[in-house]
Symmetry: C4
Subunit: 363 residues, 4 copies
């Protein structure tokens, strides 16, 4: 590793820029693009910019403790990894194995996509002590899902992340000159290894309902994290069906354009599940320490990131993924210090306000 070059990666966006130069455009676009007009993709970022910070000054911040628990397990900081598919497209050599190692090295939760290019067992083998969650969704073949869960249980994965916002795949537009994203097939080293694909395509079950969540709950002892909820009423459904946690997500803007930004939708979900014991997380557009802080202040117990890890992998494999996490952790710590929070319990909702707070004061 070239230390001079490393200094060039100062923030998470640096990795994206570099990945854009290193990856084939079809691969880069597969990961980078949102669906349709890419409105929600951009909105995830824009929405963060509408919130302002209100620090407590002159507190002794010589010791910042970022650790927290998530579904009862202790993690070093409240940032975890969202599941992203076919990571060997970004890092041919290691793929999800590199990601898991990076996550474990900084005490984050690794979430393995069911469309991963390394096996459930391979990933477990390299991070025996890391916290690993398994992402699943409903396939036309229920047998496939059952197999995945059994293997995940056996390999020591401690939660199931159930994707609930993808009965069908979203449309993609932008990159039509480069590739037709809607027709992308998973082949070669980009072929998922844990599931059977018919003709390189994924057979999602578009008839799954909340009853299937209840069935899942009865099928496995693993806690269920429902991923893809953005409204309070769906969150209430999740609670009623036995969900243990909700990951507020718009699928990184890849499924349904004009879903709200997750930082905007988050508090409604938090309010809806209040008192139920269900934990709430979010992903979508998190790129800076201030983003993480804003999400926590607005009620998330943890924040998940997806694409930045892919860009880290694309640039430097394991080292890149780890560097992404190291940089972000450093930023979160610095943000905590500058706002006067020594640990996550000291984060107060009033430390983050919408920009219109100041407009209202001015009228």
């Amino acid at each position: 590793m070239n230390s001079i070059q490393d200094k060039d990666y100062v923030c998470l966006d640096d990795f994206q820029k570099s990945a854009n130069e290193r990856l084939q455009s079809s691969s880069f676009n597969y990961f980078a693009d949102g669906c349709n007009e890419q409105f929600t993709l951009k909105e995830n970022r824009e929405a963060f910019k509408r919130y302002r910070l209100r620090p407590k000054l002159l507190r002794d911040v010589s010791n910042i403790d970022l650790s927290t628990t998530i579904l009862g397990e202790r993690i070093s900081w409240p940032v975890c990894l969202s599941p992203t598919a076919i990571q060997r497209l970004a890092d041919y050599d290691e793929g999800e194995v590199a990601t898991a190692r990076a996550a474990a090295s900084v005490g984050s939760v690794m979430t393995l996509s069911c469309l991963s290019t390394r096996t459930i067992e391979e990933v477990a083998a390299v991070t025996p002590r890391g916290v690993r969650w398994m992402q699943v969704q409903f396939f036309k073949s229920r047998q496939q899902l059952e197999n995945l869960i059994k293997r995940a249980e056996k390999a020591g994965y401690t939660a199931l992340v159930v994707t609930v916002d993808q009965p069908v795949r979203g449309h993609k537009y932008k990159s039509t000159t480069d590739y037709n994203a809607s027709l992308l097939t998973f082949t070669g080293h980009a072929k998922p290894v844990n599931v059977d694909l018919s003709d390189g395509e994924v057979d999602f079950d578009n008839s799954a309902t909340w009853h299937d969540i209840k069935w899942l709950k009865s099928f496995t002892k693993l806690p269920l994290v429902l991923k893809g909820i953005t409204t309070g009423d769906q969150a209430k459904n999740a609670v009623e069906c036995g969900a243990d946690a909700i990951l507020v997500s718009n699928h990184g803007g890849r499924q349904l354009d004009y879903l709200p930004a997750t930082i905007d939708a988050l508090p409604e979900v938090v309010a809806a599940v209040k008192g139920s014991g269900v934990e709430v997380y979010m992903d979508g557009g998190v790129r800076h320490g201030t983003d993480v802080f804003k999400a926590l202040a607005r009620g998330a117990r943890a924040v998940f990131i997806g694409r930045p890890i892919i860009w880290g992998l694309s640039c430097k494999g394991y080292e890149g993924a780890k560097q992404v996490l190291d940089i972000l952790k450093d930023e979160v710590e610095k943000t905590m210090a500058l706002i006067g929070c020594r640990n996550v319990n000291e984060i107060e909702p009033s430390m983050v306000v919408h920009q219109d707070y100041y407009r209202q004061q001015a009228l």
Copy 2:
């Protein structure tokens, strides 16, 4: 038809880009431009972007039924064709005949402009079973109007779309280096064939009033669709004068700049006619499946499109127009699935909110 090339048309905007390369600039601009500063033209699109979607998840969406009825006739999906003039400027060979065929092929309503370049009868002949509506407006010669209606009735058109926002033609600015839109005369193959023009210009009757609507109502048994209403009070006038439906429209931003975007104006019209049995539709800026969904959730019974069909025609005649409709239909279906609606009756107003919904929650 080149199937590789076809894959290049992934969304409706692709057709506009391609049409811009294929058509003479004066022809392209004739269709593309709005009036004056083109504010309303752009606002029609921008306004859609201000609405957010709130899905119901985990519903069985394995069967999506998009069909609905419009003035009592069943159509395959709630997207119909707005009248656009002189279509042989876009497709010399077939013009409106190609459009009507495309509409019929996907179960949409074809609305023939009274300034069409194919006759009322030609269009009827090629789509005997398609739903066809006839657009008319008040000419200085009332005789012309009567003739048009009689021919339309005879040819099996099942409704009259009456343009009410064009007592005079709007100003156009932008394309003055290419052509003077205000002076455009309809000549050659771009000459309307169903009406007599004096000196290539249309003689609109700028003295027509609501009494003329009542006269129309008495003159024909065909239901009347008033096109060009954007306020509640004018909608009430329409109801009082016997209109059967209202097409909320700002004439695609071509008549009076700074009219509101139709998606913004729509609910006021819906509220104004509530309980009257009058149906409300809208056109203006619809380019994506999410746009259609937003319009339906905000109260439109059907959505009309204009320019996209012209771009389809310009690129590939009938095939292009059909492909535009096929793509949009697929997008509507996918949007329905992702929001959890199996048919149009399951679309709820609360599934679409203004972006400020989230701002208000944050204060």
Copy 3:
């Protein structure tokens, strides 16, 4: 005059573009620039774009009568000319004489700047039947002001437009690479001919107060139009001091940056003088027929334009100034027809709403 070339001037902005090519940059910038960051200059235009139109349809608009009265005198339409200085910089041959002829030809009020490059009497001589107003302001030498007024009275000017927002000249920034606007001296053919200048600079009296308005009122029988008011409380002062009319103006964004746009400030002034009989006009950013309509609907009795006339003069002297007015008049007439107003009395406040009207409805 080349008729083909004339077709190239389709809207008022076309004249500005052409003037930019024809004038020396220092001259163009003198007229075009606003002060400091040019915020208010741009805001005058941007503000108009925030208002939407709500037409009445199906009215007999075969006869549009734009005429109105202003301070008791009938004019052909409610658009008049704001005073602009040293017009021979734009049209060496005729300057203000061309402007006055153009104004008279379309039945507008000509307002002559006290810093004009043609004499009060020359302008009167060419437009004996035109409505002419004289702009004045307080000079260090009160004698100069008295002389101006006496000459204006004698030459048949029928009102005094008193500039009240210029105790000192505003800063200009932008064009410092071209010229130093703050140091511009009036020399050569750009030298005002009706006033004495010391060292080519204007000696404004920065000690003038409302008492001086009362003195003016007692000194002359001409009605007083106070130009430069943008708040209700200053408007009330004007009424108390005997003003006959108020011209809501931010000096075209040339004096104090961050004054509000005049279309925004207008209603507050209208409300403040209600019942007093004092007329309210506005200038600032008027470029389209819809702008004129919006100002009238929001309470202006007449609208004044400044720079567009300069651009017309710069392009084609009298013909250009006249063409600017002809185009705008045609646009006003068309706007009236499309909104369903046959005369200015039919313009209703509810025909113009702020864009947030629709946002509020959506919540």
Copy 4:
């Protein structure tokens, strides 16, 4: 000094442009950049643009008196200098000595950074009659701080500006291709001369608390100005701990991104300390006379500027710094005249409104 060239510096931004050409990019960026996404850096400017001015007209403004008092000392105008570090990076020859001379020449307060490149005593020597304040912050070595204060007291500095928003240094991103701002070390002529640095880095004490403010208060007789407060509750803490004044500041957008713009945050602080006798100032984005006026109208007793002085220094040393202040003073005076204020006591809160004031009126 070339007088022709001098005319090229017409506003403060001209100095920044010129400095960008004259300084090494690493030096320019050190001064110019904000932290992270540079949001707050830009927001400081954007926020000013959201406020509108409401003048009183026709007041005798022939004599404008800008003088005021600050912590009991009379200054010629309410604009002072924020502390900025290592000024010999901008002006090798004189650095802070030039700045102090410029401040004294126009009757501003000079605030010397504890990270200055000229000694406390050198600066005092050249401006024996100027008002000088000393900026300090908490170092790991309390001894260093005590020494600084004693020297400042002895050298006739009349207040301590205590930076309270920098327990750790903020992240910088933008200029990573030029230099790594987070790793910038203070070496050579850019080495602070009043403090000891370990390895060229500053050892801030990240364990300082409000108790340390009380200790400071007991340690010195100098009044304390707490710099870096942006919320009302922290302002109340400051009052309780004996602060004499608060400098509302977000550290020029260099410490914690997404702090609010200071012009937005100011009134909340003013309201929080009301009745306490504690003075409130602000810095951040002040570039124009209208900015100064807006800050005063919204409750600041004085306004501080930082970067513009650096740009003046970079262009022309003392002459440049002085010219920056001369230009701004002239602009403040002109703004006062145009709004009708003869002295700071005549500035009324109602003379500045948020832009939404007009939006609300329009609904």
